[in-house]
């Protein structure tokens, strides 16, 4: 039924795409195994949609090659690749019923109606739209349209399902529901899913692996756990919720096998942490999540700060403060602190990631 049914890996080899003098995508290389769910994550304009369109064949590549096992596919037209794609605006055919939309790919493949019908019904059942199968897309809600788009993409049993920010048009509650749904559908299919998003929560909760892009190039590839705990660069740390970024002077370095333990001095106080990239020169930046900063005793390692604002967050308080040199700090506190009071804030060294300050 499908020439691609028994593939094992998708491989991108130095794929690039230029628009005139602009490099929208540069040397994108990675390999995805069958069954994996990979998220392409990055801010808008980072090249993630370009990458997806290149894989889908909607945009020719300028360099490099794309392989499904040892079959080169970047030279094929989109219609010959047989990948399922879910578009950001769903791109449902407005003049066709849900059933005809879902069956479109099979009709184009000249699958006889008797064989197509059960496959269409199965795809519709997968997204739980049996009761809507006769309706036109315009008669459906946004969430239902989204499900039709997914059903249409999976009905052709594609080796690869490509999703371009599929949840960005849905409200927050529906987005959480569909997230679980997409994960469930992926697990049921056993294909590769490549999912483009700018929402790190979505990427962390859905993906087996995340490819972080910036300015058309890969910044980091890793599991959600790796990205969450050990972002490779400061901009990724920023993206991953390391809201405190304190600029200080490097005072000591001890080489450990994996990382380098460093001390960062802020005026007369010091924080200790581990470097995530090569740090040279005197200046460096310590990145710490607000929830990893605690109030510590006067004699312990930490920085002094004056409380500026405090807000109630249910389980705890969330405070902002500033240090003597004016740098802002955010932290969680069990108690309601007095505005203007001075607190000493510390963090355990494994939660302090030190990046080059240049």
């Amino acid at each position: 039924m499908n020439a691609n049914a028994s593939f094992k890996t998708l491989r991108l080899d130095q794929v690039g795409r230029d628009f005139g003098a602009m490099h929208a995508l540069r040397d994108l290389s990675f390999e995805i195994a069958r069954g994996e769910f990979v998220a392409l994550l990055g801010p808008s304009g980072c090249g993630k949609s370009t990458a997806l369109n290149c894989i889908a064949g909607l945009l020719p590549t300028s360099h490099g090659s794309i392989w499904l096992d040892d079959r080169r596919i970047d030279t094929l037209a989109s219609e010959d690749r047989g990948f399922g794609m879910v578009f950001q605006n769903y791109a449902l055919f407005p003049h066709m019923s849900v059933r005809d939309n879902v069956g479109f790919g099979l009709r184009m493949r000249r699958v006889p109606a008797t064989q197509a019908a059960p496959r269409i019904e199965r795809a519709i059942a997968t997204v739980q739209l049996e009761a809507q199968a006769h309706k036109l897309p315009g008669q459906l809600s946004g969430g239902q349209q989204q499900r039709v788009a997914i059903a249409r993409a999976i009905a052709i049993d594609p080796p690869l399902v490509l999703m371009d920010e599929p949840l960005s048009n849905l409200d927050a509650k529906l987005r959480l529901e569909m997230r679980a749904e997409i994960r469930r559908i992926h697990q049921g299919l056993g294909c590769i899913t490549i999912y483009v998003t700018h929402d790190q929560d979505e990427a962390l909760s859905l993906a087996d692996r995340i490819v972080v892009l910036r300015d058309g190039a890969v910044r980091q590839i890793g599991t959600p756990q790796e990205l969450y705990a050990k972002p490779a660069h400061l901009d990724i740390a920023d993206f991953m919720g390391f809201r405190n970024q304190l600029r200080g002077t490097l005072v000591q370095q001890n080489a450990f096998p994996a990382n380098v333990s460093v001390g960062l001095q802020f005026g007369d106080s010091t924080l200790f942490g581990f470097t995530r990239e090569t740090v040279s020169g005197g200046q460096a930046v310590a990145a710490i999540r607000p929830e990893d900063m605690q109030i510590v005793g006067a004699g312990e390692a930490g920085v002094d700060a004056i409380v500026d604002a405090i807000e109630y967050r249910g389980r705890s308080f969330f405070a902002s403060a500033h240090m003597k040199d004016g740098q802002k700090l955010y932290f969680a506190s069990a108690d309601r602190l007095e505005l203007g009071s001075v607190v000493r804030l510390g963090a355990s060294p494994q939660h302090v990631l030190v990046y080059s300050g240049a």
């Binding site: 889908a56 064949g57 909607l58 037209a77 989109s78 219609e79 010959d80 690749r81 047989g82 990948f83 399922g84 794609m85 578009f87 605006n89 769903y90 791109a91 449902l92 055919f93 407005p94 003049h95 479109f104 790919g105 009709r107 184009m108 493949r109 036109l136 897309p137 315009g138 946004g142 349209q145 788009a149 249409r152 993409a153 052709i156 490509l162 048009n169």
Partner: protein, 294 residues
């Protein structure tokens, strides 16, 4: 205080408020410049010189020199409209993808601004016996068939209607074509549809209602052909279109009643064609041409 809402509120709920008054000047204009002349013409058509009611209409259907103008005009207007539509769709599809769309559109639209008489003048010079085109044909020995001509016959009018009608058809078509979400084509491509299948299964059904409207407007325009039929055709022969018959009745025989009757017949023919096309359109899908929430 009364429980019922004020008259003003009740009117506003039905869509009548201060702003509704702004419709008035346009309504008066339409009534004065369109409805009244039409009604008067209709009335006039039933007051023939012979004193009967249907005399003009009976005369029209009895006289081949008159009733054959319907067929002659259709024989020009229908193929021209279809051909224009046939050309406009692929050109619009191509232009849709172009970066310098505005430049090309401007060039294509130029004939609209020229007017039919100037186009006719140009064609007489270019395609006429002493024009470049015919002289070049002579030069390479292709025009020695004796009767081969491109002006003062059916083809002269045909070509001029194409030239003046195409930009109009094209602009309308372009607006319908660009109204179709390009993601739909991409979606169809990822699902395995080749270019021809994408056109047939996705574009054509979404374009059909717009093409019906475009057809009607282009057809009505072509059916009313007058200057080019006189200047480039044979006004008493194969391009004696219905508007020429009306003109002759009014300004050569001074029979305004007959002229009105011919104008009414002309309107009726257009109405029949337009109604038929719109009835076909009603069978097609007519919703939005986008693929979901934008």
């Amino acid at each position: 205080m009364s429980d019922a809402p004020a008259l003003r509120t009740r009117l506003a709920a039905r869509g009548f408020d201060g702003i509704t008054l702004l419709v008035l000047p346009a309504a008066l204009l339409i009534a004065g410049l369109f409805i009244y002349p039409f009604a008067y013409g209709l009335y006039l058509s039933f007051r023939p010189k012979d004193g009967s009611v249907f005399g003009n209409y009976l005369k029209f259907i009895a006289d081949p020199y008159l009733y054959e103008t319907i067929g002659r005009t259709l024989w020009l207007a229908l193929p021209v409209t279809l051909l224009n539509l046939f050309f406009a769709v692929p050109v619009a599809f191509r232009v849709r993808l172009m970066h310098r769309q505005r430049l090309l559109t401007t060039i294509l639209v130029l004939p609209i601004t020229l007017g039919t008489v100037l186009v006719a003048e140009g064609m007489l010079n270019y395609f006429g016996p002493q024009g470049w085109f015919m002289r070049s044909l002579h030069l390479i020995g292709l025009a020695n068939f004796g009767s081969f001509r491109l002006v003062h016959n059916y083809w002269g009018v045909f070509i001029s209607l194409i030239i003046t009608g195409f930009p109009f058809t094209f602009l309308l078509t372009l607006s319908y074509v660009t109204g179709i979400d390009p993601a739909l084509e991409q979606a169809a491509a990822t699902l395995g549809a080749r270019a021809m299948e994408r056109f047939r299964a996705v574009f054509l059904p979404l374009l059909a209602p717009g093409m019906a409207i475009t057809f009607c407007l282009s057809f009505v325009q072509a059916y009313a052909v007058f200057p080019s039929a006189v200047l480039l055709g044979q006004a008493s022969g194969e391009t004696r279109v219905i508007s020429i018959a009306a003109y002759q009745a009014a300004f050569e025989q001074y029979d305004y009643s007959m002229a009105s009757a011919i104008a009414m017949i002309m309107a009726a023919v257009q109405l029949v064609i337009v109604t038929a096309v719109l009835a076909l359109r009603a069978l097609a899908y007519r919703g939005p041409a986008g693929g979901g929430k934008g």
